[in-house]
Amino acid sequence: MTKPKVGFYWCASCGGCEEAVVDLHEAILDVVAAVDIVFWPCAMDFKRTDVEAMADGELAVCFINGAVRTSEQFEMVELLRRKAGVVIAFGACAQSGGIPGLANFTSKAAILANVYEDTRTTVNPHKTYPQATVQVPEGTLTLPVLDETVRALGQAIPVDYYLPGCPPPAKLIADAVGAILAGTLPAPGSVLAPNVGVCHECTRKETKPEKMLVTQFKRPHQVLIDPAQCLLAQGLVCLGPDTRSGCGAACPAGNMPCTGCLGALDQVRDFGAKALSGLASVLDAGEDAAIDAGLAGVPDPAGTFYRYSLPASELFAKLPE
């Protein structure tokens, strides 16, 4: 019996998702035993031509992490989409844009200007910018072109499943692989994580006061965080209530508030707006001035609530030039 062929690919990402695969520890051996990894540029030497040589649909599953911005990434995900039966958006960047997606608050031109001109350590008197093509005696060299915007994977190609997280927790990866091997994947389009908030599995859950009310939001560096009590109840901007679980509430367990990397629950349309609603609602302030003072602990609401999901948000917008 031939083992199913599996591919891994990365787009605009930090490499954490690759690490997450390795974080399966010994379990990875079972994976390797069960499947044939035929493409994994980060770990093994494969070339694009190897993929092009595959028959359409030859890959049983392809895990793609990272957001999509360059022409190369577009080409590769297009290619892998053709070759793979199932595409799984792996990690927050692929699922909803992730941290790279925050670049959508600025423009391509501004990014390039910053990198190639404005940073203090840059010396570029001729204002040399990378060119898509350049002629050299040996022929034409090309570089990938940067798109105006960062996209989630699902905004570039059709995606079958989402494995959320920054990076996806080992347990969710193992469960997903198990489901693939057992043929028990849910309906296409599903997110392969429990549809219930992080509080559900948070060790601090029982310390929540009956009425969750906060008079002043605070940032983690402003307070000594009580290691046992509910973080939201302490006035910290914890997005646990808004965020899908499956991580074992790892951040709160490490005494840091949840930042929402596993993304929205199925019944929520827009993670940021919903998270904003939940957070602002627990503010116990009546008058305008008290409200503003209480919310001063959220200096960057867009960055806070769309930290991992700006490209996939309802208001996918850029600041005006």
Binding site: E148, P158, P301
Partner: protein, 154 residues
Amino acid sequence: MSDTPAFEPRIVAFFCNWCTYTAADLAGTARLTYAPNVRVVRIMCSGRLDPQFVVTALRQGADGVLIGGCHPGDCHYQEGNYKMLRRFHLLKRMLKQFGIDDQRVRLEWISASEGDKVQRVINEMVAQVRDLGPLALVGKPTPHPDASEKHAAA
């Protein structure tokens, strides 16, 4: 009306059942004519206003959103309007980061007897948003030049 088809804004309004929706009914009963650009979605209390409604409306083509609730202290459910106000403050701050002009999302306390205020606020807001022009969410995903059309913006 000029012969060039001028931009006409579309505004979604969320009015609470007890005060502002009733005031809008009163404006009707009193035959107070106002700009037809606003479409009202009735909610029982402004406290029901989920910021998702605002962003969805803007995403779906609204150029502005008007929220109408009972005056502070008048809420039929004691203080739903105050609870909404907290969200509204943070939402306004966030929308600014998205480059959305302050005048596009407006909150007004309008009591059941203030039919004339419905008229005034709507006319005012329509004029303001008309001046601002269409809401262009500039970052809306557009097909990448190198990617095929069919996979663009799922």
